[in-house]
Amino acid sequence: MIDIQNLSVEIDGKQILDGLNLTIPDGEVHAIMGPNGAGKSTLSYVLAGREDYVVTGGDILLNGSSILEKSPEERAAAGIFLAFQYPVEIPGVQMTNFLKTSVNAIRKQRGENELEALDFLKLMKSRQKELGIADEMLKRPVNVGFSGGEKKRNEILQMALLEPTFAVLDETDSGLDIDALKIVADGVNSLRAPNRSFLVITHYQRLLDYIVPDVVHILAKGKIVKSGDASLALELESKGYADFVEAA
């Protein structure tokens, strides 16, 4: 369970999150929608531990213990995963090598045995197939020359390999056509499990047709201004954000 309590965050002296509260129980999928500049991406970066975001108040608890003092790699080992809005290109680092390094780094931190090359390949193949990822893509450097859809599928592949307990999807739908969106959504849905929760950040209701959330929150001016069930997303789609932003 992830429990965000009264979280305030600044970057470069500018307040972005202002006393945000959000609790996501195990097994649930929550969606956050909100206008540009509401603080959606900031929330995702702060959860993953990016250092240039300064937490000025509040706390983030994962299964009851604070993660604020943990480094990004420690959070990953604790089970937090961020699917990036803009996955980063890393020339010169080959996909397979990156994935293996990542899986084994997490296993090592958790005190588990590192996977041998062959066992890792087996694991990768099974996940890769489900997401329709070609072998050729895994021979390339990380995200280099990938299409928008390939980059997002790659994020989901990493999620499938790392098996997090809490995954944040930051605008994973942006820039995807409907076919790519379905593949990504199917990938996410197949990972839904009683011991895993998701935070889906999006601009658009469309994604939520495919990944049906338990709760929808509206984020405006750095805090949650309204929460409701999946129908809230539809309401937003027809009415726009203006009313909710005013209310904040």
Binding site: R50, P72, E73, A76, F81, L82, V88, I90, V93, S102
Partner: protein
């Protein structure tokens, strides 16, 4: 136009008083006479803007010795008449190589020589000595040769070398340099001049982790159509090391390509220099010249000086140059860490990828293994 501009008087441009103790190591020839009059190169010369050889040698006390080299394959040691033609009106590494006492190695590869194995030139110890090696390589048409130079000397010393190369039509020479001399107190200066004929290909990869002070010059002349010159360099510098890579590529024929790809990784208070110039002569239409220099500074005291130059007299050419200098990018670092990879390992992965892209330019597995080992040692 200002007609009052006059060049500096000879006396102040050259400083013959610098490092004069090295004059004892000179041969008796016109080049020695010239250097006695003009002195060793200093940063008063534009091409030595960032490096001062006379200054670097000031405190060195060395005796001349024959170059201590070992060649893996003696079959091609045959005299040739290769001469790289340059002007000698001011001090240069060419004049230094010709003025200093030294040894000569000539390699001549007859028509259509194709070797399965690379030819290795190992340059062993130099303790307390100045060693001057003049190499001439003649690659006749249709050859396919890999030539690897290695240095790994401990202790103080000065290695100076000139390499004159002639690559005939449709021949290919791959030249790999793995330089790992003592970082505390050794100097390395080299100048490579290559003339490429029609359809010839010369590629040089320099991997330098050694020497306290080094300067490596490359001068290419593309004289036949469809030639290709590729210069790739990797300098990994730490402590108070200094290394200067200075390049001049002359496109003297149409339809040639050249590519420069250099990366410097600089830690502590080390200093790197990159000066790369593409000179496209009027006749050299359809030239494709490319230059890229990326530099990673790993410490606030690290210094990198970069001077890209294009001099173009033809009107139908494609030339590009680019350079970046900065610290390791935080965004990919965060991406890797968010996937559970510890910061130290993530940094190393990014640095390895930074240098790996230069090494990828040349496909020679034994050298790649050795280069990877040099880099791994540097990073450890």
């Amino acid at each position: 136009m200002n007609n009052n501009v006059t060049s500096l008087p000879v006396k102040s441009r050259f400083r013959p008083e610098n490092a004069t103790h090295f004059f004892d190591l000179f041969d008796h020839n016109e080049y020695a006479d010239q250097l006695r009059a003009q002195g060793l190169p200093t940063n008063l010369l534009e091409r030595f803007k960032f490096s001062n050889l006379a200054q670097a040698l000031k405190k060195a006390s060395l005796t001349a010795s024959d170059p201590q080299i070992h060649l893996s394959d003696m079959r091609f040691c045959a005299e040739n008449n290769v001469v790289f033609d340059v002007a000698h009106n001011e001090p240069s590494l060419w004049t230094v190589a010709r003025a200093l006492r030294g040894g000569d190695v000539h390699l001549t590869f007859p028509k259509n020589t194709k070797l399965d194995q690379a030819i290795y030139l190992n340059w062993a110890d130099h303790v307390g000595t100045m060693q001057n090696l003049r190499v001439k390589i003649k690659v006749e048409s249709g050859c396919d040769i890999i030539f690897v130079e290695k240095t790994a000397a401990r202790g103080n010393g000065w290695k100076n070398q000139s390499i004159e190369i002639d690559v005939a039509a449709n021949a290919r020479l791959i030249h790999i340099r793995l330089l790992d001399d003592d970082v505390a107190s050794s100097l390395h200066t080299s100048v490579i001049g290559a003339v490429l004929a029609r359809d010839a290909r010369y590629e040089c990869l320099t991997v330098n982790v050694g020497s306290s002070w080094s300067r490596h010059e490359y001068h290419m002349k593309l004289q036949g159509e469809n030639g290709f010159a590729g210069l790739y360099g990797l300098n990994l510098l730490k402590g108070s090391q200094f290394s200067d890579s200075t390049i001049l590529i002359e496109h003297q024929a149409p339809h040639c390509q050249s590519s420069q790809f250099f990366r410097n990784l600089i830690d502590d208070s080390a200093q790197g220099v990159f000066q790369g110039k593409i000179h496209v002569h009027q006749i050299a239409q359809q030239t494709d010249g490319y230059q890229l220099c990326n530099n990673l500074l790993l410490s606030p005291q690290a210094v990198m000086n970069v001077k890209p130059e294009l001099e173009i007299y033809a009107d139908d050419v494609k030339c590009s140059h680019g350079t970046t200098t900065g610290a390791l990018d935080e965004t990919p670092l965060f991406y890797l860490r968010s996937r559970g990879i510890p910061e130290r390992d993530a940094r190393r992965l990014l640095i390895e990828s930074f240098v790996g892209e230069v090494l990828d330019k040349i496909n020679h597995d034994p050298s790649r293994t050795e280069a990877d080992a040099l880099i791994a040692h540097w990073l450890s």
